[in-house]
Symmetry: C2
Subunit: 186 residues, 2 copies
DNA sequence: AGAAACATGTAATCGGTTACATGATTAT
DNA sequence: ATAATCATGTAACCGATTACATGTTTCT
């Protein structure tokens, strides 16, 4: 999903400024699965205005740049509808954390404990965050997405809690066997 | 994690060619959480050879380009160790699927059913795939990563199965209420 | 006093993808 | 026959990130 489609989607629900779009992507349920920076949002909005997919109204403000509130045009809606009906690209879940754990046997016991504990703390905070946001008034779409985020964070957390010992036990063996080191098997 | 570190990691376990690295990233447990294309792997390997992090031995072959089998050098190992000890970037999970479901109320019932059924089929295939790969002989790291993939795919699958009705019921309501259409609330 | 929120925009850079180039062997 | 696997490499392109530029108000 490119930044243009993302903006179009958010604007299909309500009119918003570029700044507000960024905030929604940081804080909303979508925050966990979609991302875009100011440096991509503002140019996308400008370009889509040229293409007639969105239009904006300027609200004058003191002390700040004038706020540009964008709304989607009928053409924009049509383009977005096509995006919703077209093929959906597969998820891409990149995890440096899991990459690091792949090489568990090269980690010191302290490092292992550190990264795992940090991760668990992260999951807990994330879960608290999402549950706080999740007011009961949300419509089905956002509600579903937030719930999905909770489901997978919880699954990841439980898995880590229940299986960390498989990584930590090995650590003990390595410590126990002294300085034999050398490259382990695949 | 950049491509260089990824290659270094795989080479820290055993010597491999660029082609084999690509295959491991497609098929191994890491396949779900790490990615790199030939167009980035080959240049990375060349550059790391120049930097003395890896070295290669050429195996002559007929009918194909000579195979270059890379192995990690002590300096490469040191660099990789540093990467393992440095800060771990947060996961980035991008999902066009969830983006689309965010706008559930703009989807036709047929489309909704289609995307959900496709997704469930995808989860099932993916799970079969991972379980097939997951020989019992794997070392703790890879075993953990594969298990993690299974855990989150299963969680996602269950969540979708158990909550798809929240999206589909709304669809019925829309159908029932006729052609009232118009923009829904946030 | 200082940080964070509000608000938009541009330019340089960059890592990575896609497509191209080449071509035999093996499995379906 | 045709597709897939094996095998490396380059070049063009591209979307996006990061940093820069500017400046007030409000919260801590």
């Amino acid at each position: 999903m490119d930044v243009r489609t993302i903006c179009l989607g958010l604007l299909s629900v309500a009119e918003r400024s570029g700044y507000e779009i960024k905030k929604l992507l940081e804080e909303g349920p979508l925050g966990n699965f979609v991302d875009a920076s100011f440096g991509s949002i503002y140019p996308a909005l400008t370009r889509m205005t040229e293409d007639g997919l969105v239009e904006f109204r300027t609200e004058e403000q003191e002390g700040r740049p004038d706020k540009k509130t964008y709304s989607i045009t009928p053409r924009g809606r049509a383009v977005f509808r096509e995006a919703l009906e077209g093929p959906i690209a597969p998820d891409r879940h990149r995890s440096d954390f899991l990459f690091v754990l792949m090489f568990a046997d090269q980690l010191s016991p302290e490092r292992m404990t550190e990264v795992i504990d940090e991760r668990l703390a992260f999951y807990e905070e994330k879960l608290r965050e999402i549950r706080a946001e999740l007011g009961d008034g949300a419509s089905p779409g956002p509600q579903f997405v937030a719930g999905h985020a909770i489901a997978i964070f919880e699954a990841a957390k439980s898995y880590l809690e229940e299986h960390r010992h498989t990584l930590e036990e090995q650590q003990n063996q390595r410590s126990a066997s002294g300085m034999m080191a050398a490259a382990p098997a695949d």
